[in-house]
């Protein structure tokens, strides 16, 4: 067994638009600890790790044993997620010390270590020395302290070279999708800007690697990766505070040809003359300048220095020199800093117009941000002063404790008694939207491919200043909930799989309900986060549910989904205990039952009643009943199904108007009622419900649905461009036009042993977006090895490239089915499955025209999915579907007798024998089945066989 080591975890960031990679602070710390203490160090980057919480738990276990776990709370925006992740880690490893650090931890250590916190210790400031103390203490058998104060390394050259090999696990994926690479070449900033939190971490002292070492670090990095693929973010708080240092580094970069797509860094403008600008340009640097304001008054208030006019003149000079020397640059503005007045805002706008719009072109662009209150900043430290002196009003002094709208809360303040929040928002949008339009029209890049990066930044800035964005922000200002403090700490990780839009949407919905105080119970939060609704309903329905607008069923039909907040309120009220017995009397999709299963645990029992018939009734004795539809009143007969003290949750009340969501608790022969909320849910049909007719159910267990989905249709359309040669999976259409993506996709297809997964991956995703995201970030089994990932990536690219052309001819309706086809198919399926001792599973037949006479099939949860072209002759469709349905019956029989498992559709390949046998047995069984059950179909079956050869 290995010696216990140090595990450092970066929680990742939710808005991961630049696909940043590098984690230089952790990599530096890892190298330091390994060298100084000789301890093994592992790094987890959750942005790149992928997978869900179970994967994370497995990964952490595989990296163990752990002497100590360090979890970064780098930004205040990470606070909630970090606390949740910490809770999760502490549950997994209750005896392993858990340590945190970063900007937020440095600014407010008591936010992270308190009674009941999962963290044992906080490292303030930079991590190397305090973590060394912690590790040495633990190795010596001692107890670690609660807070480790900041200890700065003065001589950065004393640090070991960046241990980029610590990221070896992520390099392949980062090379594939990463865009921006982070590295530090210096630390600290000597300036005292009031809004900045840097002071809390690295103090006011600027320290740097020697120029030789800095260049050597970049040179070493170039041995790990091709710099040419990256924008390298030299993420120093202030790059090149000293002119000589900066020049030597830049000259070293130029001399050694260490040229990426571009470097990006934040630097000062007052120290740049023509020679510097030329040098920056030659070294492929683009620079960011913290302009912050064009008002001398505000610059003084921001403590940007006492020579504000010189400062503004320096920006003018930089703008001119950048234009002349071809240097790309950007500047940042802060609108609404405490003390801002209408006059100062106007001064800034005038200055910005002069800089960017007075000439025919600009090499610079503008980033406009509202003032945000950051813990650790001077403003935060003396917030009372700003309230008294400038009459500023900060509405959310602990905004980072909000689950949902933290980014809005951070900016929600009245800057002064002359500029309130609404004034600031309206001014910012009205003034800067046209300025940004002007910049966009004038911006001149470097004539290189990297210009696209800057264009994205400019467009992104403009997109934040739309009227819709303004209205949304103002509405939030009117409706935002007051701060609730840190009332709900979770022990379930959020923010994993952030590239999966379904997970992201689910988490956002949960965070919103946490923020609104609807969700309070950790187990329920965990269930809602971990049970994917799209496994039980279509992606579209799941998405609508999470957005509080589930599709309304016909009256009397059971709803597929309730509005998410209604569901959450109801389950909060139900409070099923671990080990309890629960019945869902209105199960349609199984989603609620899955949540309940999570809540009652393995010792509990959940009964989902899918088809209660005319009566809302169940036999047995239950601790909890869930009735997810509206009733006029609670049926007396259900009282005795509850155990004494047992609870039912349902909606009682009107058929056409909102009802009462109620908790009914049994006391003897009666129930007491507590009203939870006013909700609107679909009414229940059948006895005990609003309508005397039986409830109209969703798809029966054996029901067959015919649909046309864009995801599988486009996937098959793309694959139809590929001439796979002697391959049983080929549905090549030679009449399709040549596409540039076809050759690389075909190469990847041939190189990937798991190519079969590609043929059915489309069937798992209703939308193209869902399909592409899955291929990119969460490929299915069979496409998770390196070659498979490349194939998935190429496939995603091809789908995106073909998307517009495909949709130009896309018709979302399903062709009319021949009379009786569905009924015949349903009857045959029942007959097929009955000898297996079970009901036929629900079947969704997807119309995929590109497949022609061929078929594809897969299993998704309890549902079978078959794709084929419904424009083929009806008998052909029927037999194709039936054949695909024969596979789950005959395949297990074949596989039980054969040892090999690798199946391939390529003629002559090692796995083709298995494929051929699976197909032959299924065809023979289909023929025998038809002969016994439906001999009139035998001639059609023979035609089907002949057509597919």
């Amino acid at each position: 067994m290995r010696e216990p080591g140090v595990l450092l975890i970066s929680p990742g960031i939710i808005k991961w638009t630049d696909m940043d990679f590098g984690l230089p602070h952790m990599v530096s710390m890892a190298g330091w600890l390994e060298r100084e203490v000789g301890v093994r160090v592992e790094i987890l980057d959750l942005n790149y790790e992928g997978g869900d919480h179970a994967h994370l738990a497995r990964r952490i276990e595989a990296l163990g044993p752990h002497l100590v776990i360090g979890l970064s709370c780098f930004s205040s925006f990470d606070y909630r997620r970090v606390m949740a992740l910490a809770g999760f880690l502490k549950q997994l490893y209750p005896d392993t010390p858990l340590v945190t650090g970063g900007y937020h931890a440095s600014a407010l250590p008591d936010d992270l270590v308190f009674d009941g916190s999962p963290f044992d210790s906080v490292v303030m400031g930079e991590g190397e020395l305090p973590m060394q103390r912690i590790v040495e203490t633990l190795l010596g058998g001692g107890e670690i302290d609660r807070i480790y104060p900041s200890e700065l390394i003065q001589d950065l050259d004393a640090l070991p070279m960046y241990a980029w090999d610590k990221l070896d696990r992520y390099w392949p994926r980062a090379t594939d999708i990463g865009r921006k690479f982070q590295i530090f070449l210096s630390r600290g900033c000597p300036y005292h800007c009031t809004f900045c939190m840097e002071r809390s971490k690295s103090g006011y002292q600027w320290r740097a690697y020697t120029p030789e070492r800095a260049v050597a670090e970049l040179e070493r990095l170039s041995t790990y990766t091709d710099l040419g693929q990256w924008v390298i973010n030299v993420a120093d708080p202030l790059f090149g505070f000293k002119r000589r240092w900066r020049r030597e580094v830049l000259e070293g970069i130029v001399a050694k040809g260490l040229l990426p797509r571009s470097y990006w860094t934040l630097t000062r403008s007052d120290d740049l003359d023509r020679e510097d600008v030329q040098l920056l340009s030659r070294a492929r640097f683009a620079i960011g300048i913290g302009l912050e304001s064009g008002s001398p008054t505000m610059l003084e208030k921001m403590q940007k220095g006492n020579t504000t006019q010189k400062y503004l003149d320096a920006v003018r000079r930089l703008s001119r020199l950048a234009n002349e020397e071809g240097l790309t640059w950007a500047s940042n503005l802060i609108i609404g800093h405490p003390g801002e007045t209408p006059e100062t805002m106007q001064e800034t706008a005038d200055f910005v117009r002069e800089i960017f719009l007075s000439g025919p072109q600009t090499r610079g662009w503008l980033s406009v941000d509202p003032f945000r209150l950051y813990p650790g900043s001077y403003v935060h430290e003396v917030i009372d002063l700003y309230e008294k002196r400038d009459k500023a009003r900060f509405f959310h002094k602990e905004w980072w404790k909000s689950w949902y709208s933290a980014s809005f809360r951070a900016e929600h303040l009245d800057p002064s008694d002359t500029v309130d929040f609404e004034h600031r928002v309206r001014f910012m949008h009205a003034t800067y939207a046209p300025i940004l339009d002007g910049i966009r029209d004038r911006f001149v890049g470097q004539g290189r491919e990297v210009d696209a990066v800057w264009s994205v930044s400019i467009e992104g800035q403009r997109a934040m200043l739309t009227d819709a964005s303004r209205d949304r922000t103002l509405e939030l200002g009117r409706s935002v909930q007051p701060d609730r403090g840190a009332s709900t700490h979770l022990s379930v990780p959020v923010g994993l799989q952030v590239r999966d839009p379904r997970v992201r949407q689910r988490e956002e919905a949960v965070r919103r309900l946490l923020d609104h105080g609807v969700l309070r119970t950790e187990d329920l939060v965990e269930a809602l986060l971990q049970v994917p609704p799209e496994r039980f309903m279509s992606e579209a329905t799941a998405s609508a549910m999470l957005q509080e607008a589930p599709p309304l069923p016909p009256e009397g039909a059971l709803p597929e989904a309730l509005a998410f907040h209604t569901l959450a309120m109801g389950l909060e009220a139900l409070e099923p205990a671990m080990g309890s017995t629960v019945a869902d009397l209105t199960a349609r999709t199984g989603y609620v039952a899955a949540l309940l299963e999570h809540l009652v645990g393995p010792e509990g029992r959940v009964v989902a009643v899918r088809a209660p018939g005319r009566e809302l009734l169940i036999d047995g004795s239950f601790d909890r009943l869930w009735i997810g539809a509206a009733l006029p009143r609670f049926p007396k007969r259900l009282v005795h199904v509850l155990t004494e003290g047992g609870r039912a949750v349902t909606a009682l009340g009107p058929r056409f108007r909102p009802q009462d969501l109620v908790v009914l608790t049994r006391h003897g022969d009666d129930v007491s009622e507590r009203i939870v909320a006013r909700v609107r849910v679909p009414v229940y049909g059948g006895w005990g419900g609003w309508l005397t007719t039986p409830p109209v159910l969703g798809p029966e267990r054996s029901e067959v649905r015919f649909e046309r989905w864009e995801g599988p249709a486009l996937a098959a359309h793309v694959l139809a461009h590929l001439d796979l040669g002697a391959d049983a999976a080929s549905h090549h259409d030679p009449t399709l036009p040549q596409r540039p993506w076809a050759a690389p996709l075909l190469d990847a297809y041939r190189a990937a042993p798991g190519h079969l997964a590609l043929q059915v991956v489309g069937l798992h995703h209703e939308t193209v977006k869902g399909l592409v995201d899955a291929l990119r970030f969460d490929p299915p089994p069979g496409l998770t090895d390196p070659a498979g990932r490349v194939l998935a990536q190429r496939f995603a690219e091809a789908i995106e490239a073909e998307r517009d052309a495909f949709f130009a001819a896309w018709v979302p309706t399903v062709p009319a089915l021949a009379d009786g086809l569905a009924a015949t198919l349903a009857a045959l399926r029942q007959a097929l499955w009955k000898p297996q001792g079970r009901e036929a599973p629900p079947l969704r037949v997807l119309d995929v025209p590109a497949l022609g006479p061929n078929g594809r099939a897969t299993q998704v949860g309890p549902e079978r999915r078959v794709a084929t072209s419904l424009t083929e002759a009806p008998e052909h469709v029927l037999l194709q579907v039936l054949h695909e349905e024969m596979h789950p019956i005959t395949d297990p029989i074949v596989l039980a007798e054969r040892k090999e498992r690798d199946r391939s559709t390529r003629v002559g390949s090692p796995g083709f024998g298995l494929h051929a046998e699976l197909e032959t047995v299924a065809v023979q069984a289909t023929e025998a089945f038809l002969a016994a059950r439906s001999p009139q179909l035998i001639p059609a079956f023979e035609r089907w066989c002949a057509r597919l050869a």
Partner: protein, 369 residues
């Protein structure tokens, strides 16, 4: 007891009334082109014939309760004579009056006759709004009537008609009831028949208002000891009625064993005050024959399509179907309250089907005046 025997009967002593309520359901207020526009007022019977009619009606129906209403019943010169006769026929007589004609002497007379109760209408807790909605200067008279009746020892009921124009007034009316010694309140949501159909867009309450009012009845009624009941049905598809145990909520009685049969001053018999269809004439026919008229049974069977599979189809019968007929000319059309509740935008679209007339909205002046 024979099937045609009924426990109660209403007599409309006169169609005349000196108030001009927009919500008035009297069928003779319908315009000629309205679904109920074919109803024709006929000459009212003189005193002896009307008394004889009352006697015949009580004998043949064997009812034990008479409600004397109108119009305004006390506008008939022989009103008190008729009251006295009624009280001699049955143990229970109620008078529904607009409150403008109950001086002390009348109150004492009613007490001496043994009238069981008198119902007055209060639409608002303030003079200005009440009089505006009544189209008459009558608030003070009504309050005086209540006090006179209380002094005489006649139990008094207050009738509150819920309209959009008096939203939020119920609690003040109940406080007024407390002061006036009234301990029973009949809550009638507006049920438009007759001329009231031309005021639906302006006056029809929303279900939200019914929720608010029922909450008020439950809360204030319990606190003040004011019993509350509804006379116009409130469909359970709009309101969760079981939340209001203090309030006696009823359904339409037409076709039940205790129908609200009405006989007017010309002896014409209708199924209820809101109905325009004449079942027969009690001077010309016997009650048994009139009761055999299939109208009531058919009325009960005729349900709006959306109500036919409803769990409350038998009891609720679709709310007030006479108002559906009066408004839309069809008993199987959803009644206006439900129809508007299902889509509030219909309130504006209603004008295209039913001409709407101007009138007080309750918002023209301060309610505290």
């Amino acid at each position: 007891m024979p099937a045609h025997h009924i426990p109660r009967l209403d007599f409309e002593l006169t169609p005349a009334c000196d108030h001009k309520c927009g919500h008035c359901y009297n069928v003779w207020g319908a315009d000629p082109g309205d679904p109920q526009g074919s109803f024709e007022l006929q000459p009212q019977l003189p005193t002896p014939e009307l008394m004889a009619l009352m006697t015949k009606a009580v004998e043949q129906t064997q009812c034990e309760h008479l409600t004397l209403t109108g119009g305004e019943p006390l506008l008939r010169k022989d009103a008190l004579q008729l009251v006295k006769h009624a009280t001699s026929l049955v143990p229970s007589v109620q008078i529904i009056t607009n409150g403008s004609h109950v001086p002390e002497s009348t109150a004492r007379f009613l007490a001496d006759c043994g009238v069981r109760s008198v119902q007055l209408t209060l639409l608002a807790g303030t003079r200005a709004l009440h009089d505006e909605l009544k189209g008459a200067v009558c608030f003070d008279d009504t309050c005086r009537a209540a006090l006179n009746l209380a002094d005489a020892g006649v139990p008094t009921q207050c009738c509150f008609v819920a309209m959009d124009a008096n939203r939020g007034e119920l609690e003040r009316v109940m406080e007024l009831c407390l002061v006036l010694g009234i301990r029973q309140l009949v809550y009638n949501r507006m049920s438009p028949t007759g001329g009231a159909i031309h005021h639906i867009a302006r006056l029809m309450p929303t279900p939200e208002q019914l929720d608010e009012d029922l909450d008020t009845l439950e809360r204030v009624g319990r606190a003040y000891g004011i019993a509350a009941a509804t006379a116009m049905p409130i469909p359970p598809c709009l309101v969760r009625t079981e939340r209001y145990p203090w309030v006696q909520l009823g359904f339409c009685s037409t076709g039940t064993e205790s129908p609200n049969i009405v006989v007017d001053g010309a002896a014409n018999v209708r199924s209820c005050n809101l109905a325009g269809g004449v079942l027969g004439n009690l001077v010309e026919q016997d009650w048994e024959e009139i009761h055999a008229n299939p109208y009531q049974a058919e009325f009960k069977r005729n349900l709006p399509e959306m109500c036919r599979e409803c769990a409350y189809a038998t009891s609720c019968q679709g709310g007030c179907k006479e108002s559906a007929f009066a408004t839309f000319g069809d008993h199987t059309h959803p009644e206006p309250l439900v129809w508007l509740a299902m889509d509030p935008e219909r309130r504006d679209r209603l004008r295209a089907r039913v001409p709407q007339k101007p009138g007080p909205t309750g918002r023209s002046g301060p309610r505290d005046a």
